[in-house]
């Protein structure tokens, strides 16, 4: 009696598992391509904000260089990619991923666009967990603070000026939040320094892998 009920219930649950798995597999297969497309689009959207379509004519998602945790100054925790924007054969800008490990809540993942002349094309926060209403102003959706980096370079201001105003730098901090902007300013500076140190590779022909890549 007991064995029979166990068998019955076991088979029944097994059938359920098969049915639900089939259902999920079906949904997965039918949405897979669309999801891949959406992911790509979301990824590209941030890149295009930094280097708009009018400035380049290649697909940045397809022209990349691998870069990983070994890359000095970028603070990456995993393999990422540097995106190259070209107009014709000339590299107009590169978009460098950089992680600020010292955000208020957690590390902040950023991308920094660096123009061929060494100036900042744009900075965007891709992922962060900063306090809503205070630190989350690094997000372009909440505040245009990150636009303040555009046009800056290693000479403008001098490295000592690459800090928030509270630390005698030139960048605004937000009301009530100093740690977050401090982390972002430092990370942007490190990305610029990385771009300068690897200038040959990044803005050259793109045949070689950058330092720290694999």
């Amino acid at each position: 009696m007991l064995a029979r009920s166990m068998t019955r219930n076991g088979v029944l649950l097994g059938l359920f598992a098969v049915c639900t798995t089939l259902l999920i597999a079906g949904t997965y297969l039918s949405t897979r391509d669309k999801i891949a497309l959406e992911k790509r689009r979301a990824e590209e959207k941030a890149l295009l904000e930094v280097v708009p379509r009018s400035r380049h004519d290649n697909s940045m998602l397809d022209e990349t260089m691998p870069v990983g945790p070994e890359a000095e100054g970028l603070g990456l925790r995993e393999q990422k990619r540097i995106y190259v924007a070209r107009s014709g054969s000339e590299v107009v800008a590169v978009v460098i991923p950089v992680t600020a490990p010292d955000g208020y809540t957690d590390a902040i993942d950023l991308i920094v666009g660096v123009n061929a002349d060494g100036t900042v094309a744009g900075v965007r926060a891709l992922a962060h967990k900063e306090t809503p209403g205070l630190g989350d102003k690094v997000d372009i959706k909440k505040s245009d603070w990150v636009l303040g980096f555009e046009g800056r370079s290693l000479e403008n201001p001098e490295p000592s000026g690459w800090a928030v105003k509270k630390d005698r730098g030139v960048f605004d901090q937000f009301t009530g939040a100093t740690i977050t902007p401090r982390a972002v300013v430092a990370a942007t500076l490190r990305a610029l320094q990385y771009a300068q140190a690897n200038r040959e590779v990044l803005f050259g022909d793109g045949d070689e892998a950058p330092v720290g890549g694999s």
């Binding site: 029944l12 359920f16 639900t20 259902l23 689009r41 979301a42 809503p132 209403g133």
Partner: protein, 237 residues
């Protein structure tokens, strides 16, 4: 339980037995993602869809599964429904999917869903079960929306920001700035704000219920007096 009136079901889901402010189920997502109206809509729609799917399938198989394996079977159905909806959301509302993040898969553990599956769909026919899932989802969503609206308004001074995440680029202009130059009220957006506003909503509901009850009692008293006399002479059944 064979005769279920749709009117009772609606009243139950929307007011008397509202999953969010009466049963107090699914509080975790309720508190976590109601920082803005658009998040509330996203989670509300996802939860409602899961509720309808799970109630439908549970009602269909209610005579097949034995009591002993009922719960694992239900959980499997719910998990499958959530996974499918997560995939669909990823495909058709990718940014919303990113915002809801972990709270989308966590719908699986939302007690509203297992509660309705076991408490209602497992005992009722298909039609009422689907409707119950739908109306409970709507009841939950309304509270999400109210909370999202209240918190967004008091937290940022505006309403309906970022609606384009759900409704396409045209909706970007739906944002209504209610208070110009508003100093953001951080507490409202942070989790404590969610607790406070939920508490206020529950209090408001209880207040309204009290009022209604008092009014009904006042109406009842008169006929009761008359009825007593009738009973004296008749048989009490």
């Amino acid at each position: 339980m064979s005769e279920v009136s749709y009117r009772d079901l609606s009243f139950n889901g929307l007011w008397k037995n509202n999953p969010a402010i009466v049963q107090l189920l699914g509080l975790c997502p309720l508190l976590a993602v109601t920082g803005s109206v658009v998040n509330a809509i996203g989670l509300g729609v996802a939860t409602t869809m899961v509720l309808v799917c799970s109630n439908t399938s549970v009602s269909l198989i209610r005579n097949v599964v034995s009591d002993a394996v009922r719960l694992p079977a239900f959980v499997m159905i719910i998990a499958a429904a959530v996974t499918c909806i997560e995939l669909l959301m990823q495909a058709f509302a990718y940014e919303m999917y990113q915002i809801l993040g972990i709270f989308l898969p966590l719908i699986t553990t939302n007690c509203v869903i297992l509660g309705r599956a076991d408490g209602f769909a497992a005992k009722n026919a298909l039609g009422p079960s689907i409707y119950d899932g739908f109306i409970m989802g709507v009841g939950f969503s309304i509270i999400l929306l109210l909370l999202g609206g209240l918190r967004e308004l008091s937290g940022t001074g505006a309403l309906f920001a970022n609606m384009d995440l759900l409704f396409g680029p045209g909706a970007a202009s739906w944002k209504v700035v209610v208070f110009e130059d508003y100093q953001p009220f951080l507490l409202a957006i942070l989790p404590p704000g969610a607790f406070i506003f939920t508490g206020l909503l529950i209090a408001l509901k209880n207040l309204i219920d009290d009022r209604i009850k008092k009014r009904q009692d006042a109406l009842k008293e008169r006929p009761v007096k008359g009825a007593k006399r009738v009973r004296v002479t008749g048989t009490i059944s």
